[in-house]
Amino acid sequence: MSVITQGTRQHQPGKNPSLPPPINTENPLYWVRKNLFNSIPDTSLTLISLYMIWLIVPGFVDWAFLDADFFTDDRFGCTSDGACWGLITSRWDQFIFGYFPREERWRVVLCFFLLALAMSPVLYDKIPYRRPLLVHTICFPVIAFWLLIGGFLGLEAVETSRFGGLMLTLVLGITGITLSLPIGILLALGRRSEMAGVRVICVFFIEFIRGVPLITLLFMASVMLPLFLPPGVTFDTLLRVVIMVTLFASAYMAEVIRGGLQAIPTGQSEAAQALGLSNWQSLRLIVLPQALKISIPGIVNTFIGLYKDTTLVVIIGLLDLLGVGTANLADAKWLGLSSEVYVFVAVIFFIACFSMSRYSIFLENKLNTGHKS
């Protein structure tokens, strides 16, 4: 039997659980040696990466913060070598509200606030007053429509062409996310249906949408959709884009959910049948909750993809967060500041997408019932 050496004394393993861990595993120097300088190749890799970090990070910090000008009215006001954040600080309202009429902007602010309130009970189930908040969540789409577009109940109508900036990104992203999940579930069920006709239609739809780039669908929305409608009927551009983005995401969502449905053993629905549940009940109470739970990572990935893909509307001329940036770059006052704009927009997207992926990990851990192999 082996023995554990503690200092100069030797102990039988398992006999002395109260002993402190071996000294050399507690030491931070030991950690450094084990994780950074374990062997000669390891050490050289560490040194190379330290050198690269030293090359990149201080340079970036200098550019973004230390040498940067934060408040100027045009690019000529930027005298230092670093970034010129004046474009963002002087136009921040455009980056948030787009071209929404100035005197109506309180509506957008209110809508942001109500959105946070509507999302809180969905995201976190231990919140106080969850029930009334959920009622608010269900009513939120109508409230948001009223606040943003208006035209009835005492609010002035605002053209959707005035939407822009972060607000447009959020409108596209959140509408797409909310609608793509139910449509995706329906498509996934349709693709697994026993009815050949329904299955064929769903397969065609899903494979067509997944086979073409989103940009061609957006082109289709902007060029071809007017041709599809009866002469004289026009369709709001924003609505067209929302429909296309949603359909695009729901095809991907359907495949993710189909994967989840396939992973549920047939025994589950057979057991439900044996208990006397109808097809619909077994789907709603037994199969779907389990299938959705295991497809959470995929679902959230699709959400993140959809949120990132909203930037593509720039190409067909809508001014989302990125679009406001590129539009301002065309202004002679701010020519050549592309890096600043792109870095700023990238940071905003990174925060949103990274928090979504963190939340998905949190949700997975919360719903984990320990049945994972």
Binding site: N35, L36, N38, D42, L45, T46, S49, L50, I53, E194, M195, A196, G197, V198, I201, E207, F208, R210, G211, V212, P213, L214, I215, T216, F219, M220, V223, M224, P226, L227, F228, L229, P230, P231, I304, K308, D309, T311, L312, V314, I315, L322, T326, G336, S338, S339, Y342, V343, V345, A346, F349, F350, C353, F354, S357
Partner: protein, 400 residues
């Protein structure tokens, strides 16, 4: 059966014909299908009719005749002869080649970046694995369009051609793009690919023979080393023996620009680089998940059987990891190809920019142009999925 009908005949009689059809599983499925198909067909007919009416009103003649008309616009990157008097169909071909060029270069580069990123992420070295983690998270969570614009912006801000940065001997990058040595093939070069083919066949035959010998006698031969030696050695030997029939034309600075060498436009460089970096992050995660998916017991069992680490990697871990890695990897290749359509944002003339952009605007044949672009992408993706399904069937675990 008859007894149960006798027991409750009343419920059966009360239902009308429609009710009976609805409560029978098979006929209900039929009714639902007929309704759904009818709705879809009506919807399509409605769109068809509207389109027909609209086109008639606009006076646009449908059809693909416009493809044979002169295009009247130039494309700055063309690998086949093309000028503004060429037809729209030529423009389509040039665009298609440009798309494929970005796709192939991007996939190769992304695979390289992704495998390195994925392996480094699993490194025992804390710093290396953190750097890889930061790379993956930063690139995955930022829209690819933004990254393309960012890299394009960076390339345009590089020094002028005259003070181009030399990345490696012969590789100069400036705001006009990347110039690099051009390989020039001289007579006698054909012997090298032939030597390569012969060496590959030889290596395969040798490894078969080695395996057969191992099955019979239990003695192993260094098949991998001999194979690698053959495949690399024979072409190099031929290369030396035939008198070095390949040379590189190095770009030279003459006046205001480089002369000679291979010139890659800034749009191409930015697009390929941005797509590779972006897709590489996804591939890195796939590779990591693939390697981690192999049960630790497998490596331990291999070790217990006395296999050397390189052998257990090659024979036990890698084949199992690849089964997990390859399907999502191909879908990433497909994503990269589809994302290359964002080229239009920086003016790289791919298929979307040529047919879906300028040709569409010039001829007004929106339906035909968009349909052509969509069909091309559909063919790409259906071909790749078909190949993928074939592969999946071959490597799938066979259970009970």
């Amino acid at each position: 059966m008859t007894t149960s009908q006798d027991l409750k005949p009343s419920t059966h009689k009360k239902r009308s014909l429609i009710g009976r059809l609805w409560f029978d599983k098979r006929s209900r499925a039929m009714i639902v299908q007929v309704i759904i198909i009818a709705v879809v067909a009506l919807f399509i007919a409605f769109i068809w009719h509207n389109t027909y009416e609209n086109l008639k009103q606009l006076g646009v003649s449908s059809g693909f005749d416009f493809l044979w008309q002169s295009s009247g616009y130039d494309i700055n990157q063309h690998l086949i002869p093309y000028s503004s008097v060429s037809t729209h169909f030529d423009a389509y071909t040039v665009g298609l080649i440009n798309t494929l060029l970005v796709a192939v270069a991007g996939c190769a580069l992304a695979t390289l970046i992704g495998f390195i990123g994925g392996v480094l992420r699993l490194s025992n070295n804390w710093l290396i694995s953190r750097i890889s983690y930061c790379y993956v998270e930063f690139t995955r969570n930022v829209p690819v369009l933004l990254q393309i614009l960012l890299w394009y912006g960076i390339i345009l801000k590089l020094p002028m051609v005259r003070s181009a940065i030399e990345l490696a001997p012969g590789f100069h990058i400036s705001n006009r793009g990347l110039v690099m040595p051009l390989p020039i093939i001289e007579p006698g070069f054909a012997a090298i690919p032939m030597a390569f083919v012969i060496a590959t066949v030889g290596a395969i035959l040798f490894s078969r023979w080695a395996r057969k010998r191992q099955d019979e006698t239990g003695k192993t031969l260094p098949a991998v080393w001999v194979g690698t030696g053959l495949i690399l050695g024979l072409p190099i030997l031929t290369f030396l023996l035939t008198g070095l029939p390949l040379s590189f034309e190095y770009p030279e600075m003459k006046g205001f620009n480089f002369v000679g060498g291979m010139y890659l436009r800034p749009e191409f460089v930015a697009l390929t680089w941005a797509l590779s970096i972006y897709t590489g992050a996804f591939i890195a995660e796939i590779v990591r998940a693939g390697i981690q998916s192999v049960n630790h017991g497998q490596a331990e069992a291999a070790f217990a059987l006395g296999l050397r680490p390189t052998w257990s990697m090659r024979l036990i871990i890698l084949p199992q990891a690849l089964r997990v890695i390859i399907p999502p990897l191909t879908s990433q290749y497909l994503n990269l190809t589809k994302n290359s359509s964002l080229a239009i944002a920086i003016g790289y003339m791919d298929i979307v920019a040529t047919v879906g952009g300028i040709t569409l605007n010039q001829t007004g044949q929106a339906l035909e142009c968009i349909a052509m672009v969509m069909l091309t992408y559909l063919i790409f993706s259906l071909t790749i999925s078909a190949g993928m399904n074939f592969y999946n069937k071959r490597v799938a675990l066979v259970e009970r």
